[in-house]
Assembly symmetry: C2
Amino acid sequence: MNQASADCPLCRDAGGVLVMQMPKWRVIRSLDDANFPAFYRLIWQAHVAEFSDLSSEDRATCMDAVVRIEQTLREALQPAKINLATLGNVVPHLHWHVIARFDWDSHFPNPVWGASRREVSGGAEARLPLALTDLDRRVALALA
Amino acid sequence: MNQASADCPLCRDAGGVLVMQMPKWRVIRSLDDANFPAFYRLIWQAHVAEFSDLSSEDRATCMDAVVRIEQTLREALQPAKINLATLGNVVPHLHWHVIARFDWDSHFPNPVWGASRREVSGGAEARLPLALTDLDRRVALALA
């Protein structure tokens, strides 16, 4: 299943704000949830379902990029925690979530997929120490 | 923070059924949730919080072991999906969740941390094609 799949949203569309694109992967910033504005995804370009479908070399390439995103978020945002996950139960096209978590965010310490714990007054994006476009630029630089 | 932390449950206890132990990591089967019996964790032995706290070499070692668990679960169980995640919001000691998911499981396609979708009559463990102790043995062999 390395061909693009017509039914797959990640084969069809970027999946969010395109931050960086390489032949084997792209990084987007997710626009799915205003509660988690510093939410990036590394999307493997080929339509494969599982991390272990990649060759050892491609897995290293993939995780190297994931770690560069993580490091950039840590340096720029000093979050309480970074969350990494590849689930794909709904969209089985390999993608890694890289999410900066804060003790003030709506769900912390629950997973972003768990129960909400609080409302964030004024919006989560306003709490970040820099604008998302600047954060995107830093992530892109780290991936270059 | 490479020293064991007295407050950290993963420094203090195995964290589940010990499947395999190496100097840098151990693999346990989680006993936390009867809904997800094929739920393994790779726990980094040193008390570090983030994946990017590891050296490049240690990250490769870590993900190689994660992938061996994933491959074993895929071969033995033919799950609908594998979920990988390192969150650590509650216990910030690096550990990777490796979870076999099935279309009949209580939460599928939601994340295991999300809302339940159904009850699994007769228990999830009974639906697996092999006993958990046999699965543990296969995982240990793949990691040896």
